[in-house]
Subunit: 374 residues, 2 copies
Amino acid sequence: VNIPASSLNPVPASPVRPAPPLRELSVGLVGPGQVGRALLDQLLAARAPLQRELRLDLRVRIVADSRRMWLDHENPSLAPDAPGTRTWYPSDLDQFGARLGALPGPVVIDCSASESVAERYASWLRAGLHVVTPNKLAISGPLERWHAIGKARDSGALLRYEATVGAGLPVVQTLRDLIATGDTLCSVEGLFSGTLAWLFDGYDGRQPFSQRVRQAREMGYTEPDPRADLDGVDVARKLVILAREAGMDLSLEDVHVQSLVPPELRELDLDACMQRLQDLDEPLARRHAAAAARGSVLRHVGRLHADGRAQVALEELPADHPLAQGRLSDNIVQFRTRRYADNPLRVQGPGAGPEVTAAGVFADLLRVAAEVRA
Amino acid sequence: VNIPASSLNPVPASPVRPAPPLRELSVGLVGPGQVGRALLDQLLAARAPLQRELRLDLRVRIVADSRRMWLDHENPSLAPDAPGTRTWYPSDLDQFGARLGALPGPVVIDCSASESVAERYASWLRAGLHVVTPNKLAISGPLERWHAIGKARDSGALLRYEATVGAGLPVVQTLRDLIATGDTLCSVEGLFSGTLAWLFDGYDGRQPFSQRVRQAREMGYTEPDPRADLDGVDVARKLVILAREAGMDLSLEDVHVQSLVPPELRELDLDACMQRLQDLDEPLARRHAAAAARGSVLRHVGRLHADGRAQVALEELPADHPLAQGRLSDNIVQFRTRRYADNPLRVQGPGAGPEVTAAGVFADLLRVAAEVRA
């Protein structure tokens, strides 16, 4: 049917709408460690431009560590020479949540590595507190708790955890966008540990591997106990997080993980383990030599398939393999989907370190701010 | 100062907040070409899951091409066999904007390649209509118009254009997050044209380059006039978009562009140009041979520096250079920033095609939806 334009009733022009007011978000930070402190510095530095350009007022109102917390301090810097005095109270997550919840736009930022904090997510979300975190424990933890957290989001409160995978790299949001726009995940594969990427990128088989581990530990690239990197569980947690993002009910125990820690080192205390770290050397030197003889390299790879299979292992890859193209501590994440079937969508770059991790948390916080109009 | 917890007044627990209502967004699409049609299909397929999972009701209410438009049809599919009849009116962007603006959560999606549509952005935004687009014309167009568009966003209406660079790849949002969280851009470099990436990825110097261009054109990889790809202006527009995202006042004429189109082909009409396309062959074969003799490859690279220098050119790169690692029509975008200084943040993958471009637009629309609570 074709109708002339003149038959449409005239529509009055919409009036100009006024600019939105400054939105306030009240931040409560749990766990002011390396990442938490980097984040506080970034928030402080960005406060004025965010007020000016995004009409957003981000105020850090509570900071709690495992022992003590302070409330309502005007200057959130934790620098020792920051002006003003601060009143400390014993740390109490009930008080933390209740007081934050009474403030406008409450957002918990969990930079702890604490199970007891992860246990609070559901009740915080139910009460309307948003949660942003680089802490993998809740997101990759027991399925029952994860479902309770999902249910708690029915309150409209938001949960964001971009920095749990690849630190500041856009990984979780990218997968979320693919799924939400109707794409179908086929697989995710990649180098998910900056530490293990660094260890194997520079490993030539001549320097003992244990010496590389010691070197990485001294530079702060590993956890204090390097077995927490070498056992592959951290990478397995990241696969669980991505699987759940894609709608799978995956749990940590479903991931097939090949640990790099020899069985005889697993039960030792840290000092004894560090004394015997050279137990790593010979098996890895043998694998490296075998790979090199075939023109291949060793890389620590995580793989997740759409059918729920997930594995973490040291793999031998051709030197020109896409997953062998990272440098230093680069993470690489490759999504294959129905739309990205021939060539994957690939994100690569430094995937660890306080500053880039804090920036990932900060970007999540801005997403929450954008969605929460006062 | 340390104070016992008992001195804190008890705070009543926050009440459980109710779930948010279904939010409605009213979409008006301009330019139902390949990308627009793919988007309509994706919106239709995702409608039920978005209602269920994101409590979001995306309704396509107006579709306009350059000649005609329809209003308020229940089934937005443009498939010839879609059920129901549709009432067509002569296309009229005033009517389009006024009617859409009277609906809840109005979003214009501009999938045209039209200057006359780009001219409307400022007035639409001023009137509170959000705008989402893969059309580069407004975002990379004259600086004065771009500033007017920026000013119009003071109304609170949102403008999103992720799909203008790298189609569905997370490029614009990634840069926006870096800047908003306080990082400083040092440079962006990459392969920004899927067409040119494809042409040079498979170019071995034996097959005449013009034959590759013809082949790409037949497969729909190039614009109908392949000079629109070969002249590099499209890549220059993408650099302008990224520069402006990083806060620079860059314009198209500031970008130093080396066109691949020989001067004698520039003024010909399309048919005459296609007849003489072999004029491309000899100079490129010579450059390819010289590069190959040095173990290098040719890649079409765009570069933007923090000081505003921007260039687009065919470059000779070592075969193991990061920008030589793409396959087929992969785009590659590398951000170097203060935080990503040693190793860049890198995004790679297919950067053209109706489906992935539509998905980039769709992801933007979801971002708008998240920020617009009814």
